[in-house]
Amino acid sequence: MTEFWVSLLVTVIKVFVVLGVFLGVGSYLTWFERKFAGHMQARLGPKLVGPFGLLQPLADGLKLLTKESIVPASADKVVYYLAVILALVPALMLFAVIPFGPSFKLFGVEVKPIVADVNIAVLLVFAFGSLLVYGTIFSGWASNSKYAFLGSLRKAAVIIGYEVVLGFSVLGVILLAGTMSTTGIVQAQIEKGVWFIVYQPVAFVLYLFCMLAEAGRVPFDIQEAEAELVTGYNVEYGGIRFGVFPLAEWYLNVMALSALAVVLFLGGWSGPRIFGPLSPYLWFLIKMFGLVFFVLWLHWTLPRFQAKDITEIGWKIMLPLAALNVVITAFVYYFV
């Protein structure tokens, strides 16, 4: 019985740590992105609030929290608020299945740095990823605005297309690892002594594309398309309710999917032990933020696609490629 209570306590602590760290890091990514974009664009970025503008996210948050709450008169109130929750929760839930390091013993209790080490972890990721689209659709529908409506429909079309590609691109890795558990996949890579990106380069590239599409980053940010749809699906939201959407989509989602990419393709926490006991965690974070950095870099460089082009590329090029990749992997794995 005590074992149950201990593991519950450990889980609760882990939940709070993950929530605290990633919500905090997520909001500080806004600072990083603004600074980064600023320097890319020959300007300085935030610099006035605190040293190097470090307090900017706090100021932004305060501003958003103290804004007057304006709800459109003809909005569907329940769905309108539900959309905010549905945008944030699945993005956070994704972190539940991500292992940040190897298990260790603390006061005689074995602790795994993962909130839920389940054997269907990858499936869960897809489930939460699909749930995410409801936030967008609900917000577009409930706002009763044409811009929001068009934006959310675009996003829905993209997510449906790219969920499928995402699934297929990950299948190869699952075949190689022989498990759907995220810790299992990392262990498999460590045991084989090789990262799966070596066996699955095509899948990795496809995964990156899907990540951009799911997170609504340039060049796939059609649901925002500020020039055409103002900002698309979240145009009728104000204050912190408005702030939640980019936080969930642009930051939490990107981080979670990057972390997953690290787990699936880049060997998770494996790496030379050059940072002492914290080495696995640091390696994980370095790889993860390397990917996040890559996403931001693309965001501030490329123009955006058209909606019909994105779905076309997804269904006509990426899906056959991903399927082919799975078939070849299966053949090679079975016969070699």
Binding site: P219, T301, P303, Q306, A307
Partner: protein, 585 residues
Amino acid sequence: MPWMNKVSADRIKQEFKDVEVEHTEHTTNLHVKKEKLLEFLSFLKNKEGYKHFIDFFCMDFPDRKERFQGVYILYNPDENERVIVKTWAQDGKLPSVQNLWACAKWAEREAYDMFGVEFEGHENLRRMFLWEGYPYFPLRKDFPLRGIPEVELPSLTELMHGRTDPPSHDYELLHTRIATLEDLERTEKARLQKKAQLVLNWGPLHPGTHGTIWFLFDLDGENVVQCDVILGQLHRGMEKIAENLHYFQFLPYTDRMDYISAICNELAYVSAVEKLLGVDVPEKARYIRTMFAELQRINSHLLWLGTGALDLGALTVFLYAFREREKIMDIIEGNAGYRLTSAFLRIGGVHYDLAEGTLDVVKAFIKDFPQRLKEYHQLLTRNRIWLRRTKDVGVITKEDVFNYGLTGPVARGSGVPYDIRKLEPYAAYDEVEFDVPVGEVGDVYDRYLVRMEEMVQSLRIVEQCVSKLEKLPKSAPYINREHPAVMAPKEEVFKSLESMVKNFRIVVHGEKAPKGEVYVSGENPRGELGFYIYSTGDSKPYRLRIRSGALYNLSIFPKLIEGRTIADAIALLGSLDPVVGETDR
């Protein structure tokens, strides 16, 4: 640009006996009766090659029985000749020429809006700039300049605290009526009959429209079934203002039309007035004008590049383009004193001599800019996504260029080498070398390439101007001091009596222009900006018509967007690059 030659005029005279040919000092006018108008214009278009529609507008002569005169300006691209066709309305009616030239639809709407002239056979004759239900016609001579005081429009303070005595502000209590929400709804309904699923409004305030244009898209999913554009949110009645100002006074107003290329506007305007008044411009002034006009063109194209790329999601190009713009702005500010609406040119010259060090700064810019252009090319030109968004989008055929009166980079993108700087050189354009880039397909990508190459050519012109200006002595005159219509420079006014008297006379009475008419246009970054001035010998123009390149270029938008998606609309609009200050005037 020469006007219709004698041989063709005689040939026309034989074909149409009752057409009067009038050779004025600066133009060739053909007077035709209203009944014969359509037949005559289609003859000019199909047989004589006058197929490029330049402009249509009306003039009001309250003393005449017919009162309204319609004026068509046409251009023959093969012979490089222009002609003006004039016809008198009967009972306030003229035939519509929309079947000959599609853009006439918009020009006729404008004439209807401003003069109340009705057009028989127009598909949807609505007000162009003002709203449905507005009862007056502002460009008629009997419409007072100050408007008609009919409604009380309280200020916000008055609404909140009531009217005080004395009032919180000291302007008139009564004003001309402004549009109400019902008026706007009526306007919207009158423009577009919904055929498909939903009507999406863009504007009047929308980030994609680069100003206050109001687009109506009838959407089927994301595909545009039909589209119309409601203009007029920035309509200030420039033409009416011009009729009530001395020639020199109107100059700053031209800055506020296409506010991104203020000096180009001024150049077109002063060229027209100088031709009318017969003012010679000193060599130095001509080169200064050319140099600044070309810098302004680069400036304007940079804004187009930045905002166009921003619309398609390339966020960084925008700030890169603005970084270069800032340098040009500084050069202009250092010489004119203003960044945007510079009012730098004067009739007969320029306001100031070149500021010290200007040429060095410009030379540094010339040296630096090609590398920057390379950066832009690297970011966009071979970018797959950029190609996908711009290639084969909004293809304009050569026929459409003529039918819609397209000019500037939009015409050149379709392979029509229509460039006023070459065809009718003004300022110092006949003394500098440059090429006119043209496109092949006429899609958004071609227009993009044409504008990018134009920046290179502009830089070439600037370079030649700099080397010429360096050779000219510092004491060379920058304004024509001899001509009676040219105001003396400020520093002389305080020192010499003659200059002071001269300026006093011009400011108080204006300088009388000779009777006659003149049409002069300049090659602006947004197409041909033409000024038609009809003078009755007064110090103010009787009628000043502004031919806006941006307006005619925009007129093809509804046609191009039909059947395409809403995301293409943004790429297309960026490539047509309208500036609302000029379309609305």
